[in-house]
């Protein structure tokens, strides 16, 4: 039976899936963060730029679709978070905007700023975008200072529904160590995935050795950040929705969510095992290059599980630390039943989309990228 509640949960599942895919595809950003660290000379840097450059539009599109899906399914989040945490989202967008043009511009004659500037833009996007996105997602667990009053529409002079309670408009999130830890975790994960992707996608032994070194460092830092985040997450007070709809603080809420939803816990653990296995196998076996195909899906699963404990099991996924009752839940922030149902029908096309992306990805990446190929074909 397709109930309104089912549709809300289904759309949160799709948001979680898109979030997971987005973090996986942030390997593009992570790879770019290594342009100057792992790429020691022009040849290696060119390989890095062209390796991530053949996938950047998928990451970009996933980000846009993630935003669009949130707009369609949970518009109150779109309105409250984007309009409130103004500066965080604007900063994220600006880094992506610079990335979008940098591939195309960096090696072209007449680009005004020179190749190095555009590669620096790519590197900045590579570090800042995952860091900022991660920090913003961290607030799903710690809360933000906003208020929502739908009745404001009845006030002719001041009809704005969602308001942010401070002038920092989202930048205050960095004052909460958990959020920053979450951001650092996502950034290090993206860099690790970037290294893994390029080890598989580029055929250059010297660069591969440098990428393995970068992977070791970034994954080590990732594990430290992960440990910090997990300890905090499982012990912190969470935003629970009681049976009467009242939002209350509950000690260990996210731990309870894992325990009360064993399938989500299993998803997280399978994701974590795959993620770690991909890295460990890549670092321990020199000839092993396909770590990205373990760690990538592992990332998708683990991130999905994190979204699920943020939104499922009577949890406010975008909490207001100012007034708990203004917190956003799946039920109070979602679209109408008709819209969710219509969009659910549209979502049936997603497997088809994933299938043709996978088909052409495979076709294009059958052979690893080499300098010889770059010199004899189209390149950035």
């Amino acid at each position: 039976m397709i109930t309104y509640e089912f549709l809300q949960n289904y759309w949160w599942f799709l948001i979680a899936l898109l979030g997971g895919l987005l973090v996986f595809l942030l390997f593009v950003q992570g790879g770019n963060a290594l342009i100057f660290l792992a790429g020691k000379n022009e040849q290696e840097r060119e390989l890095i730029v062209n390796s991530t450059g053949r996938k950047w539009e998928l990451t970009f599109t996933t980000l846009v679709t993630f935003g669009g899906a949130f707009f369609a399914s949970f518009p109150l989040f779109y309105s409250t978070s984007f309009g409130g945490a103004y500066w965080v989202w604007i900063l994220i967008l600006i880094t992506f905007v610079f990335q979008a043009v940098s591939y195309e511009f960096q090696s072209k004659a007449g680009n005004l700023l020179g190749k190095k500037s555009f590669r620096i833009f790519l590197t900045l996007n590579g570090c800042l975008a995952p860091l900022l996105i991660g920090t913003a997602v961290g607030t799903f667990f710690t809360g933000s200072q906003f208020m929502v009053d739908k009745g404001a529409v009845g006030n002719i002079a001041s009809p704005v529904i969602s308001r942010w309670a401070n002038g920092w408009h989202g930048l205050e999130a960095v004052a909460e160590p958990f959020n920053v830890g979450f951001g650092v975790m996502v950034m290090c994960l993206a860099i690790s995935l970037g290294a893994l992707y390029m080890i598989n996608n580029i055929d250059n032994n010297k660069l591969a050795a440098q990428l393995r070194k970068s992977l070791l460092v970034s994954f080590g830092l990732f594990l430290v950040a992960l440990l910090f985040v997990l300890i905090k997450l499982l012990t912190m007070e969470g935003f629970a929705v009681a049976a009467d709809g009242v939002v209350v603080m509950e000690k260990g809420k996210y731990l309870h969510n894992f325990l009360q939803m064993p399938a989500v816990l299993a998803l997280f653990l399978v994701g974590a095992v795959l993620l770690v296995s991909g890295v460990v196998m890549t670092l321990s076996k020199k000839e092993f290059k396909r770590g990205i195909w373990l760690s990538g899906p592992g990332t998708v699963f683990a991130v999905m599980a994190l979204f699920m404990i943020a939104g499922y099991n009577n949890t406010a996924y975008y909490p207001s630390s100012l007034d708990l009752q203004d917190s956003l839940t799946l039920a109070n922030s979602c679209s109408s039943e008709f819209t969710l149902k219509t969009m659910a029908v549209v979502s049936l096309i997603i497997p088809f989309v994933v299938a043709y992306i996978a088909y052409f990805w495979r076709k294009m990446d059958k052979k690893s990228l080499t300098t010889e190929e770059l010199n004899s074909s189209e390149k950035y």
Binding site: T61, G68, P75, W89, T342, K363
Partner: protein
Amino acid sequence: MVESALVGWSRLQFALTAGYHWLFVPLTLGLAVIMATMESIYVVKGDEFWKKCAKFWMKLFAINFAVGIATGIILEFEFGTNWSNYSWFVGDIFGAPLAIEGILAFFMEATFFAVMFFGWGKVSKRTHLFATWMTGIGAAISAVWILVANGWMQHPVGMEFNPDTVRHEMVDFWALVTNPTFISKFFHSVFSGWMTGAIFVIGISCWYLLKNRERRFALSSIRVAAIVGIVGTFAVMFSGDSSGVHAAKYQPMKLAAAEGLMDGGERAAFSIVPGVEIPGMLSILATHDINGYVPGINNLLDGYTTPDGQVFPSAEEKIERGQTAIAAFAEYRELKDSDSAAAAEARRVLDENVDYFGYGYIDSREELVPNVGLVYWAFRVMVGLGCALLLLMVVVLWAEYKKRLPDMKWLQWAALLSIPLVYLAGQAGWIVAEVGRQPWVIEGLLPTKAAVSSVSVAAVQTTFFIFVAVFTLFLVIEMRILIKAIKQGPQVEQE
């Protein structure tokens, strides 16, 4: 209290982003068709020359494509960052096409663009051609969904206001996708892209002719582009005609502003420029009937009765009914849990006046009139340039057919200089569409001042100037790169 400066700067920022975005998108739409046609000829004929032609235009396409993507992502998120009230109030309807655009169109563009650009030699000829067409079709499908959303804003259909959730909710998806305003807007926008692509290709090709180089490439490109452009322009004209009829029906103030028509009536005259009119022509354009009634700005503000007896209320009455609707909404919210009978009565009053809900936020009748001078002249620039460019393309195609184009230096110059004009026409078109519907974000339901986010004016000013700097920098760089690439040329003449 919503500051008027906040509304003004938020509008300016959105207009800036949309204006820049619309510099890059039309070329993507038009060039995609031209280069895909050239590649099709290559696949059919097996002549490497056409492959090189297609590859050259693809190179320019890729440079332009990236900046279109960069400005596009800002546009999408500005609905949330700067128009948060709008995002909730109509997100139930507006969000859906945006998400479908992402799922259906953007992934198609992203996947096939990579195959088109990097897939030479990696996939078969036919698969590559398929990818090239799919990139262009993806761009057009993307236009479908964003224009479903935009068409709905101009002529809201298929929804109901729900005072419990405080938003408009979709009740008929089919009504959205068959909205006549969307249909004419889609064809008008996409085919204007064909015009842009065609003029771009013709202009650059004529530059090669002026420089006496790449002659075969230039003439071949002109042939393909001129045909695409002429087909596109006729489609623009037909869809423009139906746009006018729809504006007359659903957005009469926009039409009156575009005509500078203060006092309307039957057999309304069409103003070519101030002082030069064609009697009865506006009635024909707006209603397809020389005796059709077209209201002017004063009629719309004062209220009017059409010859067939339909009565339209004055601005004051609409504002009053809007205020009644908002007051009834507030009362309903207050009483719904405590006094169901009183709440039901408030609901009845609300339902009775809900069509005028947005007017409740309007302070005076003057607010209901868009910037008449700007819309009037933008309309003339759009139509005038559109006609001139059609004439140019027809003459260019005729000259090429008669083998006289290489000798007609004046025509080559005219074609080259027409490149900025096609962009001017496109921008003017968006001014007519978007400035013409002010003060409404959603026609009649939500004015801009009730749609903004609660951020400081200083914050929006800061981001506005950041975007001005960033977009202008990108535009300058793109133009420099394009010029360098054009100067370098396709280098196919030695073949």
